[in-house]
C-alpha cells in the first residue's frame, strides 16, 4: 500500500463515516442531536481538508483552510448552543420538537 493509496482510502473512509452523522442530522429527535452531529461533521471536514491537501501535495496551503474551518466551526456550534440555552421554552419551538418524535414513531411502527 502506497502513501497515495492510503491517503485516498483515508479520505473516502472519512467521507463514508460522516454518513451516520448525516443521518443523525436528518432525523435526530431533538435539535441537540442534530447539532452534535453537525459539530462532528464540521470537525471531520477540517481533517478531510488536511487529507485532501496531502493528496494534492499542497499541504502547506490546505493547512490554513483546515485551521480556519475548525475555528469557524467552533464559533458556529458555540453560537447555536448559546442560542438554544437562552430560549428555553420558546413557543414556536414546541410543535417542531413534538413533530419529530412522532415521525419517528410512525416510521418504527
Amino acid at each position: 500500500m502506497t502513501v497515495e493509496g492510503f491517503t485516498v482510502f483515508a479520505g473516502a473512509a472519512l467521507f463514508v463515516l460522516m454518513l451516520p452523522a448525516l443521518y443523525r442530522v436528518a432525523v435526530g429527535p431533538t435539535s441537540f442531536d442534530r447539532l452534535v452531529a453537525v459539530n462532528v461533521i464540521g470537525t471531520k471536514t477540517a481533517v478531510l481538508l488536511v487529507v485532501i491537501g496531502t493528496l494534492f501535495g499542497r499541504l502547506d496551503m490546505f493547512v490554513d483552510f483546515a485551521l480556519a474551518y475548525a475555528l469557524l466551526n467552533f464559533v458556529a456550534s458555540l453560537a447555536v448552543a448559546r442560542y438554544l440555552n437562552r430560549t428555553r421554552s420558546m413557543p414556536a419551538k414546541k410543535p417542531a420538537k413534538r413533530r419529530t418524535p412522532r415521525k419517528k414513531k410512525a416510521r418504527a411502527s
Partner: protein, 252 residues
C-alpha cells in the same frame, strides 16, 4: 401553491440540464473560461507583474482592484443598513414587548469563558497571519477580517454583548469600517497623485524604495488591511445588531 412551485422548479431543472449538455466538460483544458487570453494572462504573468505568488490575491486586489473597492463599500453599506433597519427610535425605543417568552439570562459558562479567554489572542494572531500572508498562501483581507470579526463574536458569545462592546463598540465599528474604505481609496488616490491612474499601485514606487512590481506587492497589502478593517467591523456590527434585535444589550 406548492404544486405550482414544484412545476416551476422541475421545468427550470429540465431546462438547466438540457443547457448543461452544451457546457464544457469537467476539467476541460479548452473550455472558454480556461482558454480565454485573460485567464491565461492572469496565470502566466501575475508573477512578472506583481511578484505575488497567490494569483487570487493579485487578481482581487490589483487587476480587479476597482471591483473589490466597491465590494468593500457594499459591505459597509450593508452594515449601516442593518443598523438603520434595526435601530429603535421614538415610540419603538421603549417597547418591551419583544422579549421572547420565558427568556432567561444566560450565565456565562465557566468552561466556555476560560477556553475563549485562552483562544481569542491566538485567533487574532491567526487573523493577522492570514491577512499578512495572503500573498503567499490562501488568505487576504476578507478572510482575515472574517476571522478577526469571529474573535470578537466569540467574546460576545462566551460572556455577553457588552463585554465585547467594551473592546469594539458598534459606533466605533462603523467608524472603523469607514476608515478601512478610506485606506483603500486613499491608496488609490495617492497613486493618482503620483501620476498614475486610480489604484495604479505601481506609481507608489516613486515614494517606496522598491521596484514597480514590489510596489504593487506592498500596496496590495495596504489595500487588504483596509478591507480587513471594514470586514471585521461590519461582521461584528451585523452580529451585534441581529443577535439582540437592535437593543445592543444582553447576550445572544
Amino acid at each position: 401553491m406548492k404544486k405550482i412551485a414544484l412545476a416551476v422548479t422541475v421545468l427550470t431543472g429540465i431546462l438547466l440540464l438540457y443547457a448543461a449538455q452544451d457546457f464544457p466538460a469537467w476539467g476541460d483544458l479548452q473550455s472558454p473560461a480556461s482558454a480565454s487570453p485573460v485567464s491565461k494572462h492572469f496565470i502566466a504573468d501575475t508573477g512578472v507583474d506583481t511578484e505575488v505568488p497567490n494569483m487570487v490575491t493579485a487578481v482581487l486586489a490589483d487587476y480587479r482592484g476597482f471591483d473589490t473597492m466597491f465590494e468593500t463599500v457594499v459591505i459597509f453599506i450593508a452594515g449601516i443598513a442593518i443598523i438603520g433597519i434595526l435601530r429603535r427610535t421614538g415610540a419603538d425605543a421603549d417597547a418591551p414587548a419583544l422579549k421572547r417568552e420565558n427568556e432567561i439570562a444566560a450565565e456565562p459558562d465557566l468552561i466556555v469563558t476560560n477556553t475563549v479567554r485562552l483562544l481569542v489572542p491566538v485567533i487574532q494572531l491567526f487573523a493577522f497571519y492570514v491577512l499578512a500572508h495572503g500573498h503567499v498562501s490562501p488568505g487576504g483581507g476578507f478572510q482575515g477580517g472574517v476571522i478577526m470579526g469571529a474573535s470578537f463574536i466569540l467574546v460576545a458569545l462566551a460572556w455577553d454583548l457588552p463585554k465585547a462592546m467594551d473592546r469594539l463598540s458598534v459606533d466605533r465599528a462603523v467608524m472603523l469600517a469607514g476608515v478601512g474604505i478610506l485606506i483603500y481609496a486613499g491608496i488609490g488616490l495617492f497613486s493618482m497623485l503620483l501620476g498614475g491612474e486610480f489604484l495604479d499601485y505601481a506609481e507608489l514606487s516613486h515614494v517606496l524604495p522598491v521596484s514597480r512590481e514590489m510596489a504593487r506587492y506592498h500596496a496590495m497589502l495596504g489595500v487588504e488591511i483596509g478591507v480587513a478593517f471594514t470586514v471585521t467591523a461590519v461582521m461584528f456590527a451585523i452580529y451585534a445588531n441581529l443577535s439582540t434585535r437592535g437593543r445592543l444589550e444582553g447576550g445572544l
